[in-house]
Symmetry: C2
Subunit: 413 residues, 2 copies
């Protein structure tokens, strides 16, 4: 039996006991993990330093090295994050519905953990603690498969967390790290349907597409955000500028950043918005009408409309109105977050009803699509598929339900 | 562009309009479909007769021919089924949650259709009308891909339904039939992620496993039920006999039929239950202890415990108590329905909490796991996976949600 299979089956066995743990037991374990992370910062930092050194030698870009690197503050934040998960409400054991049938059967629909969740992720080692704490609190075991470049950091982190669990009532096997980071190992994990109930990829589009394509285990597709801002003819001028600039430049590398601006031809201050974007350092790729009235814009190509820039670049298209805006989004959107800026409640409702996305916003920045901003606490990513969960995947989205059917001898005729 | 791709993209375009239709418009369309099915019974029966003739010539078994065959009563039931779906509550547009954030944002979580749902199914032509009506009522488009043996019946049925829609306000393209029933066609459908949001296979284990394995579109796995009955030491004798016999023999070919009986060694009337099963015509495959005390039982093999018999055969294992029963179910169960028969509320709760299945029953037949019996009305199958929906897939389970975020110019700092 391969190391990966052994690890996953041990996680599965340990999850059965975890699913019966009380909220108090789970919280105690999370506080112990949090303390252990703070107390073991030297061990973690020294493992991370080795990863960073190797990454630098292999020529990794500075922005990726920044994502890989830990320091005292990041370790403190990680530990703090685990404590915050402990303080969130336990999502399991909730009675979601009670049905009394004419034959006397009482059916309770009760929330419960999903089971064993695999996470395939790229360089950021803080995902390791984040994923482990969210899954533990929701009663799930986790099988972590990070990237080769972060392997030493991930080993140190999971050792610290598992050692902490060893002193708790919860088996350390609920936090499992796959040390075989080969492509074959990933493939094995993606097809281990008898051990894994769910796979969540976290990383770039290449990783996510590979997992969606190769996995036979159910997947939640996350984090591809080609988000649009539509400025309607009646939009307030200041609101239009503030929301567009915040949606684009607040943090351009995130999936909830806006990538294309659609403006109604009847909006009276098109150049005002475009100048504000230019002043904020954004390079604009415009349709032919945009380029006519705003010569600083470069001509946009078909690929520009499809692109998730993730940097200070943006497409601009002048449209005939809300219909063309909805049409454009339906064609190019990825179902993440779409914003209308308008003074018309009617157009806002129409946009929010007809646009098919996880979050449809009316006069509120696209940047709000985030577990913390929604009030869910930490999250495991933003789902852009339409099965199970859409938008932020917080604790509740890491649960499913079972039906408890209470009878007194009923048979079906 | 292939026929399948054209069909699916037309369904996708039509679904956008359907998602905005009122409940009244959808119901009117469903009643028109129902009437059209009754009125077109001759067309449907004559197409079905051709399928049945070809199936008989190809040597199809009588039981499969029975599943393929339509008659006046089955057509009437089909039309009646469509009317019943019209009478169910519209599951879309429900406000599931309202969140008011400190910054003034109002976030409404609202139920909405999933989008385009593909159904890959085997011979029974009544699935065609059932799937089309459930998806239409929930605002989804459907792409139907039935088997080659039922192609003429399915063409006739979808023509009748689409003609009815032509007279309604809803585009006929929301009910699409794939006429290319080749394996390559199925593969194309299973990987059309830009047009399909969900695939539901309905049929035998072979079909379901193929779809789970090959599909890159999200799948709901349905209908594999290796269900267990556990008779605890304190079970009431009559209840034990009635529930076990009903669970096994009520309708042995369905996925909610029981396949293995686990009995506590301390249950005082083991042979009473086994005789009742024998008298009901059930062939028993027993563990060594069972064979000792009940010589009519054949010896059970490892494969017997894994098997979904779907006929009048059953495994019997005498266990030391509830722990061994839970252990056995955890190893062999498929997460469908598991039953404990006991007089102990404590053991019942323990069983229902620790056994990981869609439905965990206490003194109620396994046969109740069914959309109609749960009070959901018609259903699209029983999900045995743990993502999105577990148990009966009724109208509500064919929806997802979106977040409508109402702001007044909020930006994220």
């Amino acid at each position: 039996m391969s190391e990966i299979r052994k690890t996953a089956l041990a996680a599965k066995a340990a999850q059965r006991a975890l699913s019966q743990a009380t909220e108090e037991e789970k919280n105690r374990a999370l506080y112990m993990i949090s303390d252990a992370i703070e107390d073991s910062r030297e061990k973690i930092l020294s493992a991370n330093a080795e990863d960073v050194r190797a990454a630098r030698e292999s020529g990794m870009s500075e922005s990726l090295i920044d994502r890989l690197s830990l320091n005292e503050k990041r370790i403190h934040d990680m530990a703090q994050g685990v404590r915050e998960v402990a303080e969130l409400d336990d999502p399991t054991g909730k009675i979601l519905e009670e049905i009394r049938r004419p034959n006397g059967l009482l059916i309770k629909k009760v929330s419960c953990p999903i089971g064993v969740i695999g996470i395939i992720y790229e360089a950021r080692p803080n995902v390791t603690a984040e994923a482990a704490s969210l899954t533990l609190k929701s009663g799930n075991a986790v099988v972590l498969r990070g990237s080769a470049s972060a392997l030493k950091s991930n080993i140190a982190l999971t050792e610290v967390m598992r050692d902490a669990l060893n002193k708790s009532s919860i088996s350390p096997d609920v936090i499992a790290l796959v040390r075989d980071v080969s492509h074959e190992g990933a493939k094995e994990l993606m097809t281990m349907n008898d051990a894994l109930d769910l796979l969540i990829p976290r990383g770039g589009a290449g990783l996510i597409n590979r997992v969606v394509k190769e996995s036979t285990v159910p997947v939640i597709r996350t984090g591809v955000g080609n988000c649009h801002v539509y400025i309607d003819s009646t939009a307030d001028k200041n609101t239009a500028i503030e929301l567009t600039v915040n949606s684009k430049t607040g943090r351009p590398s995130t999936c909830n950043a806006a990538e294309t601006l659609l403006i109604s031809k009847d909006y009276p201050d098109i150049t005002g918005v475009l100048s504000a974007l230019t002043n904020a350092g954004v390079t604009l790729h415009g349709c032919s009408k945009t380029c006519e009235i705003y010569p600083d814009a470069l001509p946009a190509t078909e690929e520009d409309y499809e692109k998730e820039y993730l940097c200070l670049e943006m497409c601009v298209k002048i449209v005939s109105g809300i219909d063309e805006a909805i049409e454009h989004i339906s064609r190019y959107g990825t179902g993440h977050t779409e914003l209308i800026i308008t003074s018309s409640d009617e157009n806002a409702e129409r946009f929010m009803n007809e646009v098919d996305a996880a979050s449809v916003n009316f006069n509120a920045s696209t940047r709000f699509t985030d577990g913390g901003q929604f009030g869910f606490g930490a999250e495991m990513g933003i789902s852009t598929q339409k099965l199970h969960a859409r938008g932020p995947i917080g604790l509740k989205e890491l649960t499913i339900y079972k039906y408890k059917v209470y009878g007194s001898g009923q048979v079906r005729k």
